[in-house]
Amino acid sequence: MGALTLIVVLPLLGFLANGLLGNRLGKGFVTAVGCGLPAIAFAVTVKTVLALHGANWAPISETAYVWTMVGQDSFEVAFWFDRLTAVMALIVTGVGTLIHVYSTGYMHEDKSYARYFAYLNLFLFFMLSLVLGRSLLVLFVGWEGVGLASYLLIGFWFGDVEKAAAGKKAFIANRIGDAGFLLGMFVLYSALGTLDMPRINAAFNGPLVPAASASLVGILLFIGATGKSAQIPLYVWLPDAMAGPTPVSALIHAATMVTAGVYLVARMSGIYLHAPEASSVIAAVGALTALMAATIAIAQDDIKKVLAYSTVSQLGFMFVALGVGAYGVAVFHVYTHAFFKACLFLGAGSVIHAMSGEQDIQKMGGLARKIPVTFATFAVATAAIAGIPPLAGFFSKDEILWYALTSERGGSVLLFAVMAFTALLTAFYMFRLLWLTFFGKPRMGQEIAHHIHESPPSMTVVLAILAVASAVGGFFSIPHFLEPMLPMPVSAESMHHWHYWVLGGSIAIAVAGLAGAAWFFAGDASRAGAVKAAFAGAYRVLSNKYYVDELYAAVIARPLLWISDRVFLRLGDRLLLDGTLNGLAALAQRAAGRLARVQTGSLHKYAFMVLAGMVASLVWMWRHG
């Protein structure tokens, strides 16, 4: 078994071991397997990256086995390791391992400890298939698989109807995206006869133009990405997905799975390079999503919801980068985002842990002193996401803003303006979160306040590591690293002199956001209350998330059910089809009754029938044959 296969399979073994035997062998075993195997996978990944480096970054390919051969068409389970894979695989295994470790503390009390780790390992398995897969098919397997793991983990505490429903919602939203993805794959396959990604990219960049329209394929694949990466219109599942255990939110719904869409587009950049229309759509959707989610995040009070909308918003940033052709930058943001968002979520987990499960930030406050490690790490991560230099988020976000303005592949002032405004909002709501949680007067009840305590080392150590990564991660320039395979878009010549203005602007935005939040929420947050009261209508719209869920229910879900029930079931099946059948049966019965009444028992009648039959036959026979 090759190294690549090993990376993928290791977590699977963990899933099988914990899933089948976990309950019998005890927590020690579960922990060892659950954390150990991802750690080994991480180690193997590092080793592979080193090997890749040694081989002068020539991609490694490895075929595990042939899934099926149909005629000449071979569908192989094959893995591929290049620079992009290296980045993603390191994030997945690295952050993944950390979150596993964190979970040993967070989930310590849970009855379904083994099940939890089994699911988490399952997720890693699928995520690694997604990242390492060489063909779209394997990628799709991972793609669907992470959706499954996400479904299982969101609904982990399934006793609660809402949590189970959230899992279902996530799965179905993902499925809608997957349908688009499938369509994209089918079109590609029909046109090119292969699902092998390197070959597809090569085909689109080759001399012969493929039969399929790159824009069509691009948009279809992007539909898939909107599902997984929570973009308009399919983003609605992600905030609800926070119903799962917090480490799950950190790993799946912030650091790794939701970035799969970004990865997909970056991976298929060969197509998007030839699909300007699709790219424009991506940029527009990304910008809109980023803005919309950021505005919603301002008005949320649930700590995880805020982070969730911030995730959606950040994903929007990444898609803007993809839309303007800065694929490396998008991956860069994935990379930095993985650190700080994981850190934020885990920090939030630590807060919730401390607050005995309370998630409403309006009922927190003044926690900074009580849980200092959590506070420190949370603060670093918040600064990173807000784009305070020289933290990681600053670098990636700055580059996104730059290319949004200048890229010759769709950069524009409008795009830049929207993104800059969104960045401002980001800084604002993140600092709002920080302020309401850690500063000001404690607003929780006595009982809870009494119980507040710092988390165990297994959690705080992880937080610290992630905080450090969030702080210094930005110095490793991913775009530069990826440039040999994902070249940067050309910046418009005329814009070059704006470079430092943009740089300064983004710093100013971050600081302005910080200051604004500090001003509004200082003390008893009375200023914020006043604004809230002044714009009550707008606030209601925002806190209700623009009523999008309600809109979907009214426009899609209810009509679908209505048609299925009234038209298909009642009218179609029962009335038309069964009605016709039962009607025919009744007709036959009635005819039988009529015919039976002919048989009156009267010999006269029988004889007359004979006579009539004879006469009719004779007359019939006069016809000339």
């Binding site: 039976a596 009444r597 009156t600 028992g601 009267s602 010999l603 006269h604 004889a607």
Partner: protein, 100 residues
């Protein structure tokens, strides 16, 4: 209308009259006699043809019909007897217990 034609028409008429009698007469015994009438029509037809062709086979059949008709009547009469025992009626319309 020549002789043979006339006799054939008569034969057909007797046949039809017989069948009609079965249909319209209610008395069982009359019905039985009407059956005989039908056979008489057949006989006439056969004899006429046998006569015109000078072949004996038609006459042989007529002879067989005599025998068979007698046999049928011989069975029919006791059956009617059985019937009348029960219902005390020769009216066939009263014998409609079997139907449906």
């Amino acid at each position: 209308m020549d002789k043979v034609q006339m006799l054939q028409v008569l034969a057909a008429s007797l046949f039809a009259l017989g069948l009609t009698g079965v249909i319209i007469r209610r008395n069982v015994l009359v019905m039985l006699m009407c059956m005989e009438l039908m056979l008489n029509g057949v006989n006439l037809s056969l004899v006429t043809f046998a006569h015109t062709m000078g072949s004996a086979v038609g006459a042989v059949l007529v002879f067989l019909i005599f025998v068979v008709a007698t046999a049928e009547i011989a069975i029919a009469i006791p059956v009617v007897l059985l019937l009348v025992r029960r219902k005390r009626s020769l009216d066939i319309e009263t014998y409609t217990d079997l139907k449906g």
